[in-house]
């Protein structure tokens, strides 16, 4: 029973991403979208949290929301994070048994 954790708030505004990463179990995935995409950036104060769970929990970020914020360029995203489009978002929902929105 795997869960897709959906995070739509910046980790510099709310603790949704930290909560999601803390609750995610092995095999779960975390999707950063809307303002949540700021959590996927390299070299920030929360970037180490992504590295800490790498290998157990896959972290994804929604590409269109990165682009909308001017963050779509190469090299801005942490190495452990995978960029997906809306099709990838749908696949993440359908390949995990549950979704949890960390609103």
């Amino acid at each position: 029973m795997t869960t897709l954790h959906m995070v739509n708030k910046s980790p510099f505004e709310k603790n949704a991403m930290q909560s999601a990463l803390g609750h995610a179990l092995k095999g779960d995935a975390v999707l950063l979208f809307e303002d949540g995409v700021y959590g996927a950036l390299k070299g920030t104060t929360v970037a180490s949290e992504l590295g800490r769970i790498a290998g157990e929990v896959k972290v994804y970020v929604l590409g269109p929301d990165l682009t909308a914020r001017g963050l779509g360029g190469d090299g801005r995203i942490a190495d452990s994070v995978t960029v997906v489009d809306y099709n990838g978002f749908v696949d993440l929902v359908t390949t995990h048994q549950r979704t949890q929105a960390w609103l």
């Binding site: 099709n87 929902v93 359908t94 609103l103």
Partner: protein
């Protein structure tokens, strides 16, 4: 109020079985919950883009339920600037194209002035005051519960 809401929740869709698409990937039945109004942050846009992508991939959308400020997606009176997206119209057109069931919570709608013909008449709001957008219908919370039970996944978009 509860009795009234339940009375309006009598429309039940037959459950469809999961089936396989031609590409071999499993088709899934999804329900969507929208808790945020249009032009607020991004939830309405994300929910719309997600729903559209899911339909294009051949998945079934059992229902889209609009709750709290999300009911504001369902007014036909919005007139956004011409160079901006029209969130309400996008939903109506998607519903028309794919025969979607767009349901607005009645209690949330009444608080925010979203009325269909029946509600406008019941509350004596005068001729022509019904403002529910095409493709939307007003019903009770039972429809959200049913959406959660009938679908394989309930995907929540909000603030």
């Amino acid at each position: 109020m509860l009795g009234h809401e339940l009375a309006r929740s009598s429309r039940v869709r037959p459950a469809l079985r999961k089936c396989r698409s031609s590409r071999g990937s499993t088709k899934v039945k999804l329900s969507i919950l929208v808790n945020e109004g249009p032009y607020t942050h991004q939830a309405s846009d994300s929910a719309y883009q997600f729903t559209k992508a899911a339909l294009e991939k051949g998945h079934e959308i059992f229902r889209v339920f609009f709750y709290h400020d999300g009911v504001n997606n369902g007014t036909r009176l919005t007139v956004p600037p011409q160079d901006d997206r029209n969130v309400q119209k996008n939903w109506s057109e998607l519903a028309e194209k794919h025969k979607l069931d767009l349901v607005v919570c009645i209690a949330a709608a009444q608080r925010r002035g979203i009325l269909d013909e029946g509600e406008a008449k019941r509350h004596n709001k005068g001729e022509g005051s019904a403002n529910i957008a095409p493709g939307f219908r007003i019903s009770g919370l039972g429809q959200l519960i049913e959406a959660g039970i009938e679908a394989d996944r309930l995907v929540v978009f909000g603030d």
